[in-house]
Amino acid sequence: MNNNSQAYSATAEVASVRLRRSRWDRARVTLGKAPRSAWFGMIVFAIYLFIALFAPWLAPFDETQVFVTPFASWDATHWFGTDQIGRDVLSRLIYGARNTMGIALATTLLSFAIGGSLGIMAAINRRLLDQILSRSVDVLMAIPSLIFSLMLLSIFGSSIPNLIIIIAVLDSTRVFRLTRAVAINVVVMDYVEAARLRGDGLWWIMRHEILPNITPPLIAEFGLRFCFVFLTIAALSFLGLGIQPPTADWGSMVRENANLIQFAQFDIKAGLTPLLPAGAIALLTIAVNFIVDWFLHQTSGLRDDH
């Protein structure tokens, strides 16, 4: 065999079949089959992420730097003009990506930490805990969440930590429902029973037996909830009750520049200024929705060819 490397070797061929594809290979194969809408979503999201991470280097000016002319029109220094007190709109758009997405991400993570862990706990302990949690979630969900968060913000005042906690708690009710529903199907499995008999603790069972088996629906839900939280925060900021100035944020930017829209007849660019942050919000939600759609399709085992 050494003197003739061209010789056919059955073992070599059989052995090569047993070589497993690495994670990287598998990811590449799946990505190669992704539809165009998913690619569009991923590219848009990557651009947003890049802008959010490198905001201080990308933005021409600081988010709070004030220039002489308020409502300046679009020109070479201020690509998208300046806002009502003379801050550069482009810089605020770039910093807004960081602030708005960061706060929405923190809120969604917190909401999943609360809703997810309580949901799994309720699925394991089906007696008193489940009853109490499920009934209170029913009641909390009976109030529209925008109205509820408006009420809570009027009591606790609107600061960024309050905003994150209030929306996360209200949103965790939805996460709780989903997690509980999927986890209940896993809890009855034999291996969970075995883990219990082995004497594993509640946290271990949650983390190592149940969580890995309910991850795909939770990830998809994470995308959807991120969109929802993002839109809620944008709506609250637009109403003037979310992220407070001078922090740059897309929702409040729409509100601050809304007056410009009536001059659209004379200068179409001025009329477009308030639509830029609103469009940025819309584009991100559409992109995330595309990714989630494709991900759900992948993990649900549905195939196009049937």
């Binding site: 009976a142 109030i143 109205i147 509820f148 408006l150 009027s154 009591i155 003037g240 829209i261």
Partner: protein, 332 residues
């Protein structure tokens, strides 16, 4: 007279659902009431100002009933609410003890009328339009028409309400000024004038809620079209319209009605943002203003009204779902 044990199963389910709705409403009222007790202790000063005298503060605390236990206050508040009395607004009070505050009910009532008018007009436009689009896209599915309507619906679903509203303003009020961008209505206006003023807000709200309704209608009808009994109807020579109207729709009513009621409940929330965009004097705008000035009694009243409408519409959706279910209507 219905005897116990002889109650129709539909009636029993409906009654059970009503009881659950009442319970939810009661719990919601507890939460909304509790909000005022969660306020930080010095809010009397915040309302009356730094210069408030001790007597004014004591009088104000007494008026709010803060010298009584919470449970008694809740009972009195609930009794008041049942008679349409939400207390008096926080605004208009001065440190000197002079009281120019107004009854919450006087603030809320005219605003509520305006909001109901806007929501009503929107529903009158949106519901038939959504049903028509849903049915036609299901009939001509995978056609160009279907794909265009679906793409537009998907896009409007993922956009914030104010984006849609401002695009409409830009196009229809600013670039081609055919409609007013401010929806400042008052009761003296004649109906046609009011309708023109609320044209843009109603259009934005329609766009917001129509997409879901249309897609659900389409999905429900398409699901049924695949069933054997529809094929049978077609084979015996029924026309397309007859198949849809006589065979498919009766079975599709339950999911369609549910999604309509659910989206009207969503309208309740969408109305807040849209009212602020168009400066429409409705209850949503009132609530946002009250939250900004931390006028808690007004916030409570608005939240309660929104929550009750929301619960009621969801309840109606459930009940329609129950009574249009043929399997429940004709038990074996």
């Amino acid at each position: 007279m219905l005897k116990r044990g002889n109650v129709h199963p539909v009636l029993a389910t409906v009654l059970k659902r009503l009881g659950l709705g009442l319970f939810t409403w009661l719990m919601v009222s507890v939460i909304i009431f509790a909000s005022i007790t969660m306020l930080p202790g010095d809010f009397t000063e915040a309302v009356l100002g730094q210069a408030a005298t001790k007597e004014t503060i004591v009088a104000f605390r007494k008026e709010l009933g803060l010298d009584q236990p919470a449970i008694v206050r809740y009972g009195e508040w609930l009794l008041g609410v049942a008679q349409g009395d939400f207390g008096t607004s926080f605004s208009g009070r001065a440190a000197s003890g002079q009281d120019r505050s107004r009854l919450v009910m006087d603030l809320v009532a005219p605003r509520l009328q305006n909001t109901l008018f806007l929501a009503g007009i929107t529903a009158i436009i949106a519901v038939p339009l959504a049903l028509f689009l849903g049915l036609t896209t299901a009939l001509y599915r995978n056609s160009l028409y279907d794909r265009i309507v679906n793409a537009v619906a998907l896009t409007t679903i993922s956009m914030p309400e104010f984006f849609l509203a401002y695009i409409l303003i830009l196009l229809l009020a600013s670039l081609w000024p055919i409609l007013p961008s401010l929806a400042n209505v008052n009761t003296e206006m004649a109906l046609p004038e009011r309708l023109i003023r609320i044209a843009l807000p109603a259009m934005s709200l329609t766009l917001v809620i129509i997409a879901h309704m249309m897609r659900m209608t389409r999905a429900a009808v398409i699901n049924l079209l695949a069933l054997p009994y529809v094929e049978m109807a077609r084979l015996k020579g029924a026309t397309r319209t007859a198949v849809i109207m006589k065979h498919v729709l009766p079975n599709a009513w339950a999911p369609i009605a549910t999604v309509i009621a659910f989206n009207l409940a969503y309208l309740v929330v969408g109305v807040v943002v849209v009212e602020v965009v168009f400066v429409y004097p409705g209850i949503g705008q009132l609530m946002v203003d009250a939250v900004t000035s931390r006028d808690i009694p007004v916030v409570q009243a608005c939240a309660l009204i929104f929550a009750v409408t929301y619960i009621l519409l969801n309840l109606i959706a459930d009940i329609i779902g129950i009574i249009t279910n043929p399997r429940l209507l004709h038990p074996r």
